[in-house]
Amino acid sequence: MDLRKQLERIIFKYEFVNGSLIPMLQEIQELEGYLSKETMKMVSDISGIGVADIFGVATFYTVFRLKPQGKHTIRICKGTACHVSNADLILTTLRNELDLEEGEDTTADNKFTLFEVACLGCCSLAPVIMIDNTTYGKLDPQKISEILASY
């Protein structure tokens, strides 16, 4: 099915639901893993919602990605408990192992995208990272390479 058809199907589903822009965009994001400018324009076209409203919501909430994503998502917690348990060292180690340049968050082979998030709710296991839906706690730099190697 082409993109436009898929979009129409999703948008139609949400048409009469109050306050549905955010979940609708979340579902649309799953199609390509991110929201491209073209997709957002098409959504506006089909739904009649202003491009500015769509763009405004997409840039406000951190769940929305405006760039293509790697195959696996790594979330590193930068919450208070993790911060005082040296999450910075885990971040440096991760960026180092993934060979990420300054300002980059996706690896060259598109395998991983790294995000910093504020608290994964597993503070008692700090420092914590989450790869896709799996959480890893009580980390130290040594464990990072083992974990990455399992993907």
């Binding site: 955010i22 919501v57 208070t80 408990a81 709710g121 597993c122 503070c123 296991l125 959480t135």
Partner: protein, 590 residues
């Protein structure tokens, strides 16, 4: 052999520690396969630092709770339980069977957590067996809405989401407000980074929150509700969905509940990742599908909330108290706590504390009791330096104030806030200026940008704190931080900006010396601020194992195998990887 119940804690914390593998092993164990033991998948037991946790009970309810369980050990644990033998490999946390009480249960009082770790969160029957939906029945069949409100007022329950407003009064406002359509909203956005109370309650006992919402809806006259949950909590969302589905099928949600005129529908809204959406007006904007920006109050949500309708919004923990109060009476509830703060408070203990996890104590318990008696004290030998309460809106209290009781007013008096219940313990390895910078960085990132003071003011403060951490601070910066703080407090619309300076103000109040050491001596006593530390290799300790040189991300370490290595200070980015990876304590940090 007596029939046993074996419970496995499968909260997010348990899963992260490998509880699923333990569960699989238990399924394969002889006791379960032969039908002698029944498996139960429960939520968080509260002892998150020694997950995975397994609890075994016999028919008389005599239990033993085991920590740090591995899949290989499950058969051994069941045998040990039956033989009453003390096993040494696993921590035995609590045991009515052998009389061991390692953790101080006696200081705790479980009202909110009454079912947490006891019932299967996906089982409606389990909840019903613990008096579930009995409070709803009592309100719908025997109480008028106004009586429910009076009961809540009499209990003295105050909102657990941060501000501590009287729940009964809030319901009364929404009850009085004119409107054909009213809403109730449950705030499960839990934005404080370092707190996980609401997550645990939703994961482990979702029906108690739903029952609280139903009672609130009946009291104010609402027929529709939303639970706003942050997207980082997939398991909480899953359990809520199952719970709503089962409650609908059993007739607790829907049309003419328990054959009364009261009807109610309930939706889940997933948050999309923005701290400010925890603020009630921003949260409602987000439910409406807009950018989550706060609005000026008044009008309060009780008059004009979701789509302009009267709306009552409460926090998860607040709602989890409701059914207990209705069933046990406001007087019983008010027996716990202090004059102005009734009941209990759940805390998420984290940081450098030994027993990090979830606890519930009567209001008025002192911080010292919470940390040393319930929490087991410090994790390592490093002494306690500060306790952080209330997250980015709260403050850091020093060791000398540990005898402060936890109640709304005492904490505000000391410059902190109760907040939602995140309690992060810090030791001497934590730099206080860095912590202040950390929170400012957080609020600066999360500021929605609507108010100039909040948007630009926090940015200026962050710049100053960054300068101080780099050893480039001036004495005048301290006055500047104070005056910016006061202006931001005055000039911001919502609680985010109004409370953003709190971490800076409390650290300036209690830890000024540490700021001065950074500014005057260009030194970071905790060795955290990278610009102010230097890593060096001790020639007499280094054996030339090359580990540090291989780990160094910038190749800043020179040296051949079996020869002393040297750190090239110009290339060092002070990440500390060498320091952590050296097995010979040959690297110093100063």
């Amino acid at each position: 052999m007596a029939r046993l119940t074996v419970k496995v804690g499968l909260g997010s914390c348990g899963l992260a520690a490998g509880a699923n593998q333990v569960l699989e092993a238990l399924k394969e164990s002889d006791a379960v396969k032969s039908g002698k033991a029944e498996l139960k998948e429960v939520g968080c037991f509260g002892y998150c630092s020694v997950e995975p946790l397994v609890e075994i009970l016999d028919e008389k309810g005599l239990y033993t709770l085991y920590g740090n369980v591995t899949p290989e050990e499950v058969n051994g644990i069941i045998e040990a339980y039956l033989d009453n033998s003390p096993i040494t490999k696993n921590v035995i946390l609590n045991s009515a069977k052998t009389g061991i009480e390692n953790q101080n249960y006696s200081k705790q009082k479980r009202i909110v957590l009454r079912n947490v770790g006891i019932i299967e969160p996906t089982s409606l029957d389990d909840y019903l067996n613990r008096n579930g939906y009995k409070a709803l029945e009592k309100t719908l069949l025997k109480m008028k809405p106004i009586q429910v409100i009076e009961e809540m007022k009499a209990s003295g329950l105050r909102g657990r989401g941060g501000a501590g407003f009287s729940t009964g009064k809030k319901w009364e406002f929404a009850h009085i407000a004119k409107g054909d359509k009213k809403f109730v909203v449950c705030n499960a956005d839990e934005g404080d980074p370092g707190a996980f109370m609401d997550r645990s309650v939703l994961e482990a006992d979702p029906h108690s929150v739903i029952e609280g919402m139903l009672i609130a809806a009946y009291a104010i006259g609402a027929d529709e509700g939303y639970i706003y949950v942050r997207a980082e909590y997939p398991l909480a969302i899953e359990h809520l969905k199952i719970a709503i589905d089962k409650a609908e099928k059993a007739g607790f949600i829907g049309k003419n509940i328990l054959n009364t005129p009261f009807s109610f529908t309930l939706h889940i809204k997933e948050g999309a990742g923005a701290f400010v959406c925890g603020e009630e007006t921003a949260l409602m904007a987000s439910i409406e599908g807009k950018r989550g920006m706060p609005n000026v109050r008044p009008p309060y949500p009780s008059e004009s909330g979701l789509w302009g309708n009267p709306t009552n919004i409460n926090n998860v923990e607040t709602l989890a108290n409701v059914a207990w109060i209705i069933l046990n009476g406001s007087e019983e509830f008010a027996k716990y706590g202090t004059e102005e703060s009734k009941g209990t408070k759940v805390f998420a203990l984290a940081g450098k504390i030994k027993n990090s996890g979830l606890i519930e104590v009567p209001m008025g318990t002192t911080l010292r009791e919470v940390i040393y008696e319930v929490g087991g004290g410090m994790k390592t030998d490093s002494p306690l330096k500060a306790v952080q309460l209330g997250g980015p809106s709260g403050g850091c209290l020093p060791e000398s104030l540990l005898d402060t009781p936890v109640d709304y007013d005492s904490l505000v008096d000391k410059g902190a806030i109760m907040g939602s219940g995140g309690l992060v313990v810090m030791d001497e390895t934590t730099c206080i200026v860095d912590v202040a910078k950390f929170f400012l960085n957080f609020t600066q990132n999360e500021s929605c940008g609507k108010c100039t003071f909040c948007r630009v003011g926090t940015k200026r403060m962050l710049e100053i704190l960054t300068k101080i951490c780099e050893g480039k601070g001036k004495m005048s910066d301290i006055d500047l931080l104070e005056s910016l703080s006061n202006n931001i407090k005055k000039g911001s619309l919502c609680g985010l900006g109004q409370s953003a300076p709190n971490p800076v103000l409390t650290t300036l109040r209690y830890f000024k010396d540490e700021y001065l050491t950074h500014i005057l001596d260009q030194r970071c006593p905790a060795g955290v601020c990278t610009n102010l530390v230097e890593y060096n290799i001790l020639p007499d300790k280094c054996i030339g194992c090359t580990v540090c040189a291989r780990k160094c991300p910038t190749n800043a370490i020179d040296g051949k195998a079996r020869e002393v290595h040297i750190i090239n200070q110009d290339m060092c980015i002070k990440c500390g990887i060498c320091y952590e990876s050296c097995k010979f304590a040959a690297i110093t940090k100063q």
